[in-house]
Amino acid sequence: MNNCEKFQELIEAYALGALDAEEHAVLDAHVSSGCSDCAKAIEEARWVVSHLAYLAPEQAPSLTLKNRLMQTVRAEATASRRPVLVFPGRTLWTWMGVAALIILTLYSGWNTRRLQEQASQARDSAAEAERDQRKLQEQLAVTEREVSILADPASVRISLLPQNAQAPQLEAMWHPELGIVVTGQQIPVPAGSRVWQLWLIPKTPGAKPVPSLTVRPGPGGKFVLPVFTPPKLIAETKALAITEEPAGGSPQPTTTPRWVGGIS
């Protein structure tokens, strides 16, 4: 333990990654030599250090990231369930032996496997159905709220006029409590992965545009952008604007507005 005492003062900085290279290497060597006390102390210090993550301002990743990840993960899970038989450089006898073994195994376990496959299919179907149901419920909730905003007499209508006279007009309905819905038809789709982004222009003179959500028009140029928690109150906002931005949106406008609508 005496040997450990000289390392104790390095434990926290080691877990934090703040040790200079030489000290880090010395402690590494000591732990690698099998000191369980120091190894345990390092694990505890790592637990403490991991809490520092909560000092980071809280933010959420985009929905696109989750979709991208789930697509990859599902594809890999499906591939891993597929049997792959590769026997490079085997002789005919080896092949025949392997084939006979496989046939024997398949025959003896056929019934069990059939049931297991049914169980697996049932699991997949149940999970799929649950996901679909959840998605539908979410979509329904969003749609219901959009309809409320569009139909409620308390909503304020804002016409967003295109800067290019040939482009179609957008229309926003802003309900003081339920949020904003911006809609339009035959709206052009921005090139590549770029998106349309909504901005709230504050009444305060000199204040910067406040960024809101982004959208890419659907089939037929259908444009629906619900913003249920606008970053500013309607009373504080003098206009809405829409610009073209990179995927994920921008903190400040990087292009000139394509649609602008004043709030009367």
């Binding site: 926290e12 990654g17 637990w47 403490v48 960024p211």
Partner: protein, 214 residues
């Protein structure tokens, strides 16, 4: 019935059928109350649902941490994707006997983000982008999850704010920017010994308070 089903590989055909049926029943009950603690283990068996649950539970704190380190949203998402794919493909690397899952995941995320920062020499660019405003949230978060993270964040922030501001700054420079003792001493224009004792004492105080409130 249950004792027959767990009698090993040499079960009769009937017992095998029962074990399959039991598997279905067990699955149903797991689906209703997913035990969070077993999610990482389920990844080893390529359980997509477990992965999605883990992502939903932890993606916000992982993204917040990586975004704070990298200071650039699109690059941060690339790193977060890398972290979760690593988790998916190498789930067996996590050993529950060595500690809880979340600290392990956050350590992995922090290391990946700092590696990225070093490799891409983004530190200079980050300084130029310091005025960047945080982008709006792209998805509505789950209320309970946000509340839980808020509580944790408030607890850690309260603990850290009780430290001397320079001491807190030294710890943050090490954690979020990956600076060493010497680099921090140079940045803060303080003696090396002072920086070392700030960091050590600060983390020890944090540990004591975390243990007291756990």
């Amino acid at each position: 019935m249950s004792s027959d089903c767990s009698s090993g590989p040499y079960t009769s055909e009937g017992a095998k059928r029962e074990s399959v049926l039991l598997e279905i029943l067990n699955f149903s009950s797991q689906r209703e109350v997913p035990p969070e603690a077993t999610l990482p283990q389920r990844l080893i068996h390529k359980d997509v649902k477990a992965f999605e649950q883990l992502y939903d539970l932890h993606s916000r704190i992982v993204y917040s941490l990586v975004r704070r380190i990298i200071q650039q949203s699109s690059t941060a998402e690339e790193v977060v994707q890398d972290v979760f794919l690593h988790l998916w493909r190498n789930a067996a690397q996590y050993n529950p006997e060595k500690g809880p899952f979340v600290p392990w995941l956050l350590t992995l995320a922090r290391n990946r983000a700092l590696d990225h920062l070093r490799l891409k020499s983004e530190r200079q660019r980050r300084r130029e982008d310091l005025t960047e405003v945080m982008p709006p949230l792209a998805i509505a978060p789950g209320y309970e999850e946000v509340l839980d993270q808020k509580r944790r964040a408030e607890r850690v922030q309260a603990l850290m704010s009780s430290l001397h501001p320079r001491q807190k700054q030294a710890i943050e420079l090490a954690y979020f920017e990956g600076l060493s003792h010497s680099e921090i001493a140079e940045t803060l224009k303080e003696p090396l010994g002072t920086v070392k004792s700030w960091i050590r004492n600060g983390l020890q105080r944090l540990k004591e308070r975390l243990q007291a409130t756990s």
